[in-house]
Structures are given as structure tokens and as C-alpha cells.
């Protein structure tokens, strides 16, 4: 088996002083931009791309990759501390992570996020090393019908698993789907709900909606409370997770990693889907699902692991086939081109030092992130002791800079203000916000895949059940419905007979 030799070879490449240095720079920059909302890996990598011209191809790729997965790490920090999602994928972490922070458990939440991410990163890296090429081939079997059926399953699961006021959750998913439609229709080029406003032709940015409803909405809500913010860090119980916490998180981390790897391998699933799925799964499996949304550590551990595994596995199509699944991956391919390397499936065999060196560096980078993040926890938690009357203007400032830096668009700042008002209103009316964001992410993709599938099949809806992978998802969807809905029906019947 040459895997072992290959890995040794890879570590030999990655452990050179120069490559270690670039790996460190990458994860450090990644953590920083991850903490800040808005500024994401895409923009940062684009700006740093010219710099990579002067370093070796391996070092360039190692640094850029470090920025990418480092950002996924950093994104959870502000989500947990102040309900501000640093990256798209950390929205889910806001739900329970922020609640934990409010209960004085910011330390354990941050630590478990780091530990979960490290585990997931390790598994993701191994997966690429072991099964990269075959997995990429499987992923290519996913066409429009498969993706649609998969997302349908996700949406049904989300609706069925929603706790609390189920109808309100579903209504919010629908609202999110509708918001996601704003902008140019991919199929026809028609402008929908853009009111002749240029800025709306590309749709509303996810970060605008997320920061608006979560961060700004939460601030308005907090300021309305009679006792304006009992000090956030109330009684910081302990900085690190207890044995209890670790035991509770082990399962979610493993399952989240599995889900993250699955979604990560598929290039057509955007960010945040993996972490949403993990959250829903953990909530379903929990003995007392009522704790979710009120500071359940499983709600941080699972999604964070899923998110990092997803980020890691998104490299598979790029590394093995030279196909970019996202803008970030396209830029990394661009970095290769700048170096005079033609991206494509041949890179793996012709430039093994690139492939194996990068894989080894990812593991090293993940380890660096843990070492980098754990000591910072104490510092972060202390930041929370800033009085709320000063803390919230600071959150507003970082939100504004972050959002503005994405497109230099004042319009998006104003839109964030609007979503802040809406978020507050929805909170007051008892609407859960996460399902809306799930709908917002899934909506445009589902529509795109459904219409594409129908277009390519010539209007024949049977494509969804004649293609085996798609059929499997449809069957799973039906099963979820039966399994989940049946007990509640039975319960109702029993109630009647009583």
C-alpha cells in the first residue's frame, strides 16, 4: 500500500520550514477573517493571490488552503460570543453557542467547537488521502435530479424535525425560500422582486440576512429588556468543557463529521447545509430536545464538526479532478495556473508533492488551529466582560465594516438595518430564525435543480424515481415522513380514545 509512503512523503514536504511558515500564516489570517463577519476567504484569497506568485506552488496552495479552513474555524468564535456569524457556515452555531455564552459557558462552547473541528478536519484529511479519486467520481454521478431529491429530503426533515411551533417553522422556511428567489432567474435571466434596484439583481447576500436577523435583531431585543443585559459572562463557570460536556459531545462530533464529509464531497451543495443537517439530526436524537436553542452543547459540537469536515472535503473535486466547486476553489486553481501548472486530473500524478504535501499540511494546519485557538479562549471570554452598553456598539461597528467590505455597497448596509428590524419583529412574534435561513440557502438551489432536471428530462417528472440515487433519496424522504409523522398521529388518536 503506497498510502503510507505517500503520507510520509507528504509530511516530508509539509514539514519543511518554509511550508510550515506559510501554513501558519494561512491559518492565522484565516482565523482573523473568520472572526470578522463579511470578509471571507474568497475576498482574502483573491487579494493575496498576487503574493503567491513569488513563492513555490506547494507553499502557495498550503497558505491559501489554510486561509480557507482557518476561516471556517474562526467563524464560530463571534457566533458563540455575540451571536454574530463570522462566516455563512457558522449561522447554526449561533443558535446554541450564543445561549451557552449567555449562561456563562462561552469557554466550553468555544473549546468544544475547536475540538470538534479538529476531529472533523483530521477525518476529512484522511478521507481525501484514502478515497479522494473514487469519491470524486461518485460525486460526478450527482446531476440535477439527485441534488433536488437530496435537498427535498433535507427540507422535509427540517420541517418534520422542527420543534416548538411546527407551523411557524415551516412558514419561516417558506419565507426563506421566497427571499432566496430575489434577483436574476438563472434560467431565463428575468429579474424577480428586484424593484428595478441594481443591487438586488444578484440577490440578497446571505451574510446581510444572517447578520441582520441574528446580530442586529438580537441587539434590539436585548436593549428592550428591563434589566439591560445582565453581564454576559455572568459567572464564568469554567473555561474548558467538563467531562460531562465531552461525553455529551462525542457522538454529535462523530455524526457531524460523517454528515460534513458526505455533503463536502458533493460539489453542488453550498455552505451551511452540512451544519444545518447535523443540528437537526442531533436535535432529533437527543433525549430531551427541548434543551436545543437553550444552550445545548450538542448543538455546537455537531454542526461545528460538520462544517469543518465539509470545508475539508470540498477540496476533493478540486484536487482530484481540477474542477472548482466554488469560487474559492476556482481561485485556488487560478493560483496553480499562475504558477504555470495546468489544473486538471493529471496534477495528482504529475505533481505528487503538491497533492500529498497539501493533504499533510491540512492536518498540520488543523492542529495549529487548535493550538492557536484554545489559549485564546480565555482572552475572548474576558472580552465579554466589557459592559453591554459599550459591547453592542462595537458589535455594530464590526458588523458594518464586515458587510461593507464584501461589495463596498452602502445599499447592503441599509438592507442589514432592514433585516435587523425584521429579525426583531420575528423574534417578538415567536418565529424561529434558523429555518428561515435554511430556506434562504436551499431555495435558489432547489428551484435551480428542479427546473434544470425537468428541462433536461424534456418535462418528464419520472427522472426523480428512475435514477437510482435520486430514487434512494425520495424513498428516504417518504420514510422520514412516515417515521416522524406516524407517532404524532398515533399520539393524537390515543388522546382521543382516552
Amino acid at each position: 500500500m503506497d498510502l503510507f509512503n505517500n503520507l510520509i512523503f507528504g509530511f516530508g514536504v509539509a514539514l519543511s520550514l518554509q511550508n510550515l511558515f506559510y501554513c501558519f500564516v494561512g491559518v492565522l489570517v484565516g482565523t482573523l477573517i473568520g472572526v470578522l463577519p463579511g470578509i471571507g476567504p474568497l475576498g482574502t484569497i483573491a487579494i493575496l493571490l498576487p503574493i503567491t506568485y513569488s513563492v513555490s506552488p506547494v507553499a502557495a496552495m498550503i497558505m491559501l488552503a489554510g486561509i480557507y479552513y482557518g476561516a471556517q474555524y474562526g467563524g464560530s468564535t463571534t457566533a458563540i460570543l455575540v451571536n454574530l456569524p463570522g462566516e455563512t457556515s457558522s449561522v447554526v452555531t449561533c443558535i446554541d453557542g450564543y445561549q451557552m455564552a449567555q449562561q456563562g459557558r462561552a469557554g466550553p462552547a468555544l473549546a468544544i467547537a475547536a475540538i470538534g473541528s479538529f476531529f472533523a478536519g483530521t477525518v476529512g484529511t484522511l478521507l481525501i488521502a484514502l478515497f479522494g479519486p473514487p469519491l470524486a467520481d461518485v460525486a460526478l454521478k450527482f446531476g440535477a435530479p439527485e441534488y433536488f431529491s437530496l435537498m427535498l429530503m433535507g427540507l422535509v426533515a427540517a420541517a418534520v424535525l422542527a420543534q416548538g411551533d411546527m407551523v411557524k417553522s415551516i412558514a419561516m422556511v417558506v419565507l426563506g425560500l421566497l427571499l432566496g428567489i430575489i434577483g436574476t432567474d438563472v434560467n431565463s435571466g428575468v429579474q424577480r422582486f428586484s424593484f428595478g434596484i441594481f443591487e438586488l439583481t444578484d440577490g440578497i447576500g446571505f451574510i446581510v440576512v444572517a447578520v441582520g436577523v441574528f446580530a442586529v435583531g438580537e441587539i434590539v431585543n436585548n436593549l428592550g429588556e428591563r434589566q439591560e443585559r445582565r453581564v454576559l459572562s455572568a459567572k464564568v463557570s469554567n473555561l474548558f468543557p467538563t467531562w460531562q460536556d465531552l461525553k455529551a459531545s462525542a457522538g454529535p462530533i462523530v455524526r457531524g463529521t460523517g454528515l460534513g464529509c458526505f455533503f463536502g464531497v458533493l460539489p453542488g451543495t453550498g455552505p451551511a447545509i452540512a451544519s444545518f443537517s447535523s443540528y437537526m439530526l442531533e436535535k432529533k436524537l437527543a433525549k430531551d430536545p427541548d434543551r436545543f436553542g437553550k444552550g445545548a452543547i450538542e448543538g455546537v459540537a455537531g454542526p461545528e464538526a460538520a462544517n469543518n469536515a465539509d470545508a475539508q472535503c470540498k477540496f476533493i473535486p478540486m484536487l482530484t479532478l481540477g474542477l472548482p466547486a466554488s469560487g474559492v476553489m476556482a481561485l485556488m486553481l487560478g493560483a496553480l495556473t499562475i504558477q504555470g501548472i495546468q489544473p486538471g486530473p493529471q496534477v495528482m500524478t504529475q505533481r505528487p508533492e503538491l497533492f500529498w504535501g497539501l493533504i499533510a499540511s491540512m492536518w498540520i494546519g488543523n492542529a495549529m488551529l487548535v493550538v492557536l485557538n484554545l489559549p485564546l479562549i480565555g482572552l475572548w471570554v474576558r472580552l465579554l466582560q466589557v459592559p453591554y452598553r459599550l459591547l453592542f456598539p462595537a458589535i455594530m461597528a464590526f458588523s458594518a465594516i464586515g458587510i461593507f467590505s464584501v461589495n463596498n455597497s452602502a445599499f447592503e448596509i441599509h438592507l442589514t438595518a432592514l433585516f435587523g428590524v425584521l429579525g426583531f419583529m420575528w423574534m417578538r412574534l415567536g418565529f424561529p430564525l434558523a429555518p428561515m435561513l435554511l430556506g434562504f440557502v436551499l431555495g435558489p438551489m432547489m428551484e435551480e435543480y428542479l427546473r434544470r432536471a425537468m428541462l433536461m428530462s424534456g418535462g418528464d417528472p419520472s427522472v426523480f424515481v428512475t435514477r437510482p440515487i435520486s430514487l434512494a433519496f425520495i424513498i428516504a424522504t417518504v420514510l422520514i415522513l412516515v417515521v416522524m409523522v406516524a407517532p404524532s398521529v398515533r399520539k393524537r388518536r390515543e388522546a382521543f380514545t382516552d
Binding site: 474568497l42 443591487e199 439583481t201 469560487g327 486538471g344 493529471q346
Partner: protein, 323 residues
Amino acid sequence: MPAIRALPLATLLLAASLTPAAAQQYPAKPIRLIIPSAPGGSNDVVGRPIATFLGERLGRQIIVDNRAGAGTMIGTELASKAPNDGYTLLVVSIAFAVNPWLYDLRGRYDPIKSFTPVAMLAAGPNVLAVNPSLPVNNVKELIALAKEKPGKIGWASAGVGSFQHLGGSLFELQAGVKFLGVRFKGGGPAMIDVVAGHNQVAFSSLVQTTGQIQSGKLKALGVGSKKRVPILPDVPTIDEAGVPGYEASNWWGIVAPAGVPQAAVDRIRKELAVVLTAQPVIDQFANEGAEVVQMSQGEFADFIAAELKKWQQVVKDSGMKAE
């Protein structure tokens, strides 16, 4: 307010016209280069190295200002309303010549009247590539197959008005065929679908296709440029392979708000001529499949006018304008 503002400006202009030395001192402050796409977008990949190296030559910083949105129209409109003092420049691409026919730009900007062409930077041909499972070996066979099965062969492209979409639409018109047009959010996902075989035909940039062609995952039938490209020497041009007159390339250039001082334009052009021969610039352009093209200012103006005319016709004939 405008009067007060105009006063110093007028004195400045007067001073500038009286003392030619002042004009020679351009640039006296940092220059803003508006890039109407997000970091990482095609205009950005081409524009960013220009900002770095041209800034060095001019001895002044060139600040990159990404103003993405609405298929480059947000940044373009912003540039059209900027002061025409030579301190605001705009990177334009093929979208500049297409958007006026796809969208209502009244009251926003006019591609000819609102801008002064400064310099052409680069061009990158598109490549007609098919999934190897499609039983065709050249452009003529593809046309024959498409005529046999009109509207059945899947052609994957990015959205309406994108470079890939335009290349395919032009092909449909000139070859007299009709594909099953399948649109994606971006060029990357469209390529994945063609490599995977869910769709069969793609018109895409060199950088997105070359690796796949060399490894046999895609079959190249033709390139959209006038001459064959060095990296794919065996691939004929689409023009020679069966669609005479076909030419579809993405291109990039720099324009300034109309009425920019000629002295500024001359200075920029003089330095650009050097910058465009620098190896780092050439290498970074390759990232977008772009090759340096140098034109005189007049040639560039004629080129823009010709592109506008060409795509007006294509947009009209293909009926791609959304109602």
C-alpha cells in the same frame, strides 16, 4: 453647492491648461481603479496585477475598488459618474458591450458617451468542448448531430449574458443550430456537469477547459479566436472548422470617465505598454485564460464600437433579452 464646488475645480483646470508642466506631473495623487466584479471575478483577476505594476511605474498607488453587482453594471455606473480628472479608471470586459442590449440603462450610463477608452489589456478565446461520450469529432459533425436532434443536445453555460452563454448563442446563430440551453449560477458548476456527462456541450475559457482536455475528460472541437492558441495547437479555430466568421473571445480593457485629460491617458498608455510585457503580468493573466493584446487608443475605441454592434445583433437575433 455645485457652484462652490465648481470654483476650485475651474481654477485648477485653468492652472492646468496654463502650465503644461502640471499636466506632466500626473499622477499627483493615488488613482482609483474600479473593478466591477468581486475579488476573484474575471475583471478582478486581470485588473489587480495591472493596479500593482502600473502603480509602480507611475510612482503612485493604484487603489483597487471592487464594486461588484448586476453583471458589472453597478461598478460601471459608479465610474461613469466619477470625476473625469484621470484619477478614476474602470476595468471593462465583454459585459460592457453586451449589457446595454440586455438591460435598460437609460439614465444610468452610455457605453460610448459616458467613457473615454484608454487601453486594451487582454483577450481570451472561448473553447468549444464536448463530453467524450458525444459521438462527434469535429465542429461539422457537431453541427450535423445538432441539426438531426434540434434542442436535444445539452449545452451547459453560466447565466444569460455571461461570456460562456454569449459564445454558445453566437455559435447557435451562425451555425444555424439549436441546443438545449441549460444555465448554471457560474462557469465552474457548468463545467462539472459537462465533465460528468449530464450535459454534453460547453463554451468556456481556456483556463477552465485545458486541464480537462489534456486529460481526456473533455474533447475540444474548436477555439473561438482568429488564430489557433499555443496551448492547444491541434485544436482548430471554429472559424476554420466549419463556422466561417465565428469569433467569440472575452476581453478586458481600461476606460475612464468621458473627457478625461489626454495627458493622463497618454501617461497611462505609455507605462501600460511596458507593464503589459512584464512576465508576472503575463503569468497572472493566464489565470483567466487571457493573453495580452495591445492596441492604439483609436483601435481600442473602434474595437469597443464593433463589439457593441456585434452583440447587439446577437442579443436581438437570439432573443436572449429577458422580458
